[in-house]
């Protein structure tokens, strides 16, 4: 549904997007996970036809975007990162306007407006001016404006920025439902959990480049299948008990140790080593490999939250 090849955009000497290539299939939710300034918004802007790439090609449903992409634009819905609404108009008036830009009119426009308002549970406030909405309410109308014309492709740029957990779950649900009904979704975020729970495939992007791309399981394999075990207790760093096969020390200090364990079973024998030496163990924490680890390994950065 979406094919991107060698996409590039520099702003002066800032390499905002530096040679991106990826493909998204119909009905798939494709996640862009990256920290601030990674190039997510710049990529979305080029996909939506707002920014002209310096190099590379974008094909939307078989149509090249380079010629302006008139037809392709009409099947896309965009939910920008910054709330792009008219504050002096009501939620409904905003939706009417954005809907009419995509060719909706008359009864059809009114129906679709009611549908999306209902979807984000804002029907009762629809006639208040957007300027009087809370941040989360504006976000929800911002989302609606991108969905009102039932696009085949939705580009969502951090749509859950700064809203409460409940509303966030609601938005994720909406996106999931859209995808289930066959809509193709590109979803950018810097929240690991969102990418993990929502996206079928994820691209890890930093400094304008894709560092890895695949399903969650595929990505996790990249950092190996080792678990991280953190033990705290009454022990000294230089008198640590012998470790079972397939276990190594990652970091250690008096009273706390971080170990890399290839297999859960090893944890038991390690603990019995502690007990037999008469050392006290306070806590044991096992963390399975996740995107956090992948991200750290690939970019050398923690994702801020």
């Amino acid at each position: 549904m979406i094919e991107v090849n060698g996409l590039r955009k520099y702003f002066g000497n800032v390499k905002a997007v530096d040679g991106l290539s990826f493909g998204v299939k119909e009905g798939e939710i494709f996640g862009f996970l990256g920290p601030n300034g990674a190039g997510k918004t710049t990529t979305i802007s080029m996909l939506s036809g707002l920014l002209r790439p310096d190099a590379g090609t974008i094909t939307i449903a078989g149509m090249e975007m380079s010629g302006g992409g008139g037809k392709a634009r009409s099947i896309m819905g965009i939910v920008p990162q910054e709330i792009a609404l008219y504050e002096e108009l009501s939620g409904r008036e905003n939706l009417h306007f954005w809907g009419s830009l995509y060719g909706l009119s008359g009864a059809r426009l009114r129906e679709e407006t009611d549908r999306v308002l209902d979807m984000v549970e804002l029907s009762d406030r629809a006639d208040d001016p957007v300027g009087k909405y809370s941040g989360g309410m504006k976000r929800r109308i911002n989302l609606c404006a991108g969905l009102i014309h039932r696009p085949q492709i939705i580009l969502l740029d951090e749509p859950t920025l700064g809203i409460d957990p409940q509303a966030r779950i609601r938005i994720l649900d909406i996106v999931r439902k859209e995808a289930e009904s066959g809509t193709t979704v590109i979803y950018t975020t810097h929240y690991l959990e969102e990418a993990e729970s929502l996206c079928k495939r994820i691209a890890i992007i930093d400094q304008g480049r894709i560092h890895a791309e695949g399903t969650l399981a595929e990505l996790v394999k990249l950092v190996g299948e080792e678990d991280i075990v953190t033990i705290t207790g009454d022990f000294r760093a230089d008198a640590f008990p012998a470790l079972p096969e397939g276990t190594r020390i990652d970091r250690i200090a008096d009273g706390t140790a971080r170990l890399v364990v290839r297999d859960h079973g090893a944890v038991g024998s390690m603990l019995s080593g502690f007990f037999s030496s008469g050392l006290r163990v306070d806590t044991v924490a096992i963390s399975e490999p996740n995107l956090q680890g992948v991200f750290l390994k690939l970019t050398g950065k923690e994702l801020r939250d």
Partner: protein, 405 residues
Amino acid sequence: MKRVLIIFANDLRRRLKSPLSILLMLAIPLVMTLVIGGVFGRSGKVEMTKIRLLVFDADRGLGGRFVRQGFEQGKLAEMFELVPVDSIDGFDLMAEGKASALLVIPRGFTNDLLDRRQTALKLIKNPSESFNPIIAEEAEPLKKTRSMLSADKWPALGDMQVLLDEAKIPFTQVEGYIGDSLVTLGSETAADTARAGGNAGSSGFNIFSYVMSGSLMLGLLFTSNIMLNDIVREKRAGTLARALCSPIGTGHVVAGKVLSVYAVTAIACLLLLVVGKFAFSMDLGDPAALAAHTAASILMCTGIMTLLFGIVRRERAADAIAPVVIIVLAMLGGSMLSFDMFGETMQRIGKFSPVYWANDGFKKIMVFGAGTSDISRNILVLAVIGLASLVPGALLLGTGFRKGG
């Protein structure tokens, strides 16, 4: 076209929902009219303070009578009170503040006129009065006579006829002096001034109309400025980007926006004129002329501001530059200080400001009762400037949209 209308209608709706900033801009000309106009007479009609014009007729001949009698009829009679004086008395009266100006008709004026020699009327203004003498200078018979005399060709027969009619002197009396063979085409200025005025049939000079005709454009320029500023703000707010992502196309977005600038400026103008008419009993002149001239003036206004915002794209720069440009153009065009008070050099410079052509037209229509044909040159100049700035301005604005996102 439908797409343009969607953008246009939305901008109009938004403006109607928050009209305050524009209403504030409209306060400029209204306050100016109220204050300046109020100084000269609360009713707006200056009957009670007729302009006292002293006339020292050293000529005592036919030519002098042309001029004097011109001031004693119709509309001008309502504006001027003519007081014959010796030149000496005249200066004294002015010094005492009892007269606005002294008109000197020189000795031998009639003979010079008939012998086709250069001659000049002299208008000595009372320096302590800034307003009334200007009207005396504007007065038609004076202007007509002066322009006929200063033209390098003998005036057209028709023009002479007008003057003679006004002076109630039978044409036949002077027929002997002006043969048909002498009649060549009148110069442009002579023809111009001959037509303006006279056909108003209105009830006297209205000071509010005079001030409003000058200050109107100031309010309209600022109104256009607000509308274009809004486009810049939309860039920051992301709504513009969102519209540009839609299948509607940049050209349609620009066209819709520019149309809304024009429409809102036109509504603002209508509001000002309606308030002027009912609150100040302003005389608005010939409706057809007013409509045509207003349409052209707003085109100029929209065009100039669109070009400005097409060139200056950054928000801060636009915020700083636009008001300065407006004020300079308006000042040169005579919106702050009446154009009539400018010296000759300043008037020549002022004509390069498109605002002059707008102000001048409004004045001719609203104060001197000109018809559409009298101000056709103003309309033409304004329309040409308007289109010549609007087209490149809109194109620049469009490229700015695409680049700036």
